[in-house]
Structures are given as C-alpha cells and as structure tokens.
Symmetry: C2
Amino acid sequence: MAKGEYKTKQREELIEFLSSKEGEHVTVNDVCKHLNESGKKIGTTTVYRGLEKLVDEGFVKKYVLDANSPACFEYINPLVHCGSTCFHLKCTKCGKLIHLHCDDLAETKEHILEHHGFSIDLQRTVFYGVCDKCRED
Amino acid sequence: MAKGEYKTKQREELIEFLSSKEGEHVTVNDVCKHLNESGKKIGTTTVYRGLEKLVDEGFVKKYVLDANSPACFEYINPLVHCGSTCFHLKCTKCGKLIHLHCDDLAETKEHILEHHGFSIDLQRTVFYGVCDKCRED
DNA sequence: TTGCGTGCAAAGGTTTTGCATGGCA
DNA sequence: TGCCATGCAAAACCTTTGCACGCAA
C-alpha cells in the first residue's frame, strides 16, 4: 500500500475474498454479490476502484477476455509470485492460468526493451493460448 | 462467403477498406467515418455485423485490447497470413498500438510451445507496457 | 483536521437487439 | 417472390466520473 493511502474495511474484505479465491478468477459482479450476501455491504464503484489499485500494486491481475463481457480479476500470492520474472499463460479453452518462470523469457523481455524500445509490464501482460492438455483434444 | 448469403455493396466496401489498411488496425468507428466521408453510406450496425461475419470467415482478426475501448480489426491477407507472426504491444500511457514482426519473438513463441507445451494465440495476446517515447517522460 | 475512501446517481462508450424497409438471387 | 441484409432507434452492458459524505491517520 502506497504512502498517503488508508487501510479501510472495504479494502480488507476485498483482499480477503480475492485471496480465498486464489487460482480462480472473479468478476466485479462476483465480488459485489458475494460480499453483499455475506452482509458486508460494498459499492460497485468501490470494488472497481479497489481492484484497480490492487492491480497497480501487483496483488491482482486483470484479464480482459472479450468485449462486452466483464473483466476477470485474480489474486496473486506474493510468496508464489516472483514479480519481475513471472510470466502468465492463460489457456483460453480450460481457463487454466500458468505461472511461468523461465530465463529465456526474461531475455525476451530484455530483447523487446533493447531492440524495440518497449518496456513490458508483466503485471498486466498475459499470454493467451492453448495449453498442453487442451491441444490434445 | 457461405451458401445462402448475399454479396452486397456494403460488404464489398467493407472488404475494400479493410484490405487497403492491411497491416493496420481499425475500429468500427474508423470504418464508419471513412466510408461515410467517401460518400458511401454505411450504418454502424452493418459494420459490426459485417466484421463479425468476416471474422468467422477468417478474413479478419479481432483484437480486444481493453475494456471500454473499441475492438480493433485487421485484415488478414490469405496469401501472406501475417497474423501468425505478428505481435502487438500496447502502450498503457499513450494508448499507442505497435504492430511488431520480429524473428526473435517468433522463436520465443516456438520456445514456449516446445519447452512449456503452450501454444500462444497471437490473435488474442497483447503485451502491455510503456513505449519508447512515453518512457522518456 | 486533513484528505483519501466510499457509494449513489448519472454519464460515457461500445456493442447488441428489435423491427420495418430495402435489395440480392 | 423469398429471404437475407440494412439501418435507425433503443436497449443492454460494463465501466467511469461527479459529488457529497464518511472515516482513517
């Protein structure tokens, strides 16, 4: 949490719910629905803004899968997630998210920076494709 | 074009415009604006429906980059089939979309397939980050 | 006290749908 | 003629913004 920011009840509940869903992705609607059903009132706007902040902080990843369908969010365990060299592959068939550590890919990131002048933000970047198992089908 | 479908003036103009922009991304709004300025009236709905059909037919690729920003469409030359080796970088500061062909990146794609069993779908994958110019600021 | 966080309502932007009309085969 | 395509208007959707109030520090 950045300096000058407050720790609020809503933020706590948001993080608690997200971390309980580690490995799954949830939508803004999922969050509101679940928290409100638990008696913990939280506004939709607050969820949007809270998630945005968590994405910036690197605790949550955001996936925009399709137009006109809600964005998906997923909690990233700070212990499992190694930040700067962790790539994410998401299977578009089974929805599985793969956390990938690979020096060759770290080099790819460097390559793009040096040869194409583009600094990739791994917090936001996701490789979409088809995983091993789903390719067999 | 599938059986039982008609060849219309709007479809022709849509294809003509898209193919004239080969290698670039255009939005639905771009299409409408350009065609209407050329005196070729075409409705927004028709563009949406026409593009959807062309995507199904494989002549056009659709990119969903961000929530609340329009989808991008790109004509795919069936002979060149550039779609299979084209990477996309999107600057999260200025919003610029960079269309990148690079053999080293094509190798990265191969690497991930061979070593990690994951087949990347470049139609869907976008690298988010900060471009050259924005990094200077 | 300061100023960030919250949440309602409203706006903003993209995409889809309903339906009557028009045009291809 | 039969049936798909068109296009206007309106709806549906997700998301963002404005603003007054509340709450953490």
